[in-house]
Symmetry: C2
Subunit: 156 residues, 2 copies
Amino acid sequence: MIVNATETDGPQINDITARAGVFNQEEVDCVRDIFDEYISLGPDESGYNFIVDRDGDQIHGFACYGKRDLANGVFDLYWIAVDPNSRRNGAGRKLIAASEEAVRQLGGRMLIAETSGTTEYESTRRFYLGVGYEAEASIKDFYSEGDDLAIFVKRL
Amino acid sequence: MIVNATETDGPQINDITARAGVFNQEEVDCVRDIFDEYISLGPDESGYNFIVDRDGDQIHGFACYGKRDLANGVFDLYWIAVDPNSRRNGAGRKLIAASEEAVRQLGGRMLIAETSGTTEYESTRRFYLGVGYEAEASIKDFYSEGDDLAIFVKRL
């Protein structure tokens, strides 16, 4: 069941990010830091909304989205990650559909997902294309030399 | 002379942003808010660096840049604006060259400038192209319907 994340979900969210297999330590730390902001300041003031796919005490995955400043109705899907042990149960698709629905409710008309252009992220890019995102733009050598930024966009 | 901005430059920076003719009130307020963060927290903690083109007590223009999270050596040129009364004296070119030099000193290898694709911003886009930026990517209808995001990049 997709619900808003609460404080006690922090350790499992951190664990899923670390075990997802594609995020480096700086990225794992970043998710932890913005989750702390979401908990301490709330979604409105922090600008971050966290949702989780919860099954009893277990979290199968999470997503984090928030409004982009200075653009009308544009939201970023900052993070989405699913427990490697919970893949193939549709948690990713449920999380992204719930993020889109929440963004629509907040008046959003566009959701942007940024990811890497390396082969390591090929399944991530296929995932976005499979749920209706367009490969809208890219910036060559963005993350580092040979590691492009790939910008996916869905009009809601 | 291009120097780091100090607290007393705030009112003139705010005035230049308001009179630049292309920024709406939300954008003017945003510049004021991040300038306050730059002054109260400093460039390292706030993530914002402000420089000004100063001539005695007068500010001809300002630029604001900062490091992009989670990308190696990537900086954003968040804002650059020149007093309409000081145009044609090269303040814009001096400010962008000084921003690039400062970014290089901080280990940056890429500077990104985002602007609008509307005709109102045509001179801004020509300015970036004229100082060596590439029109790298765009997102259709980003700011609002009919108002695309144009992403300019310079490799340093």
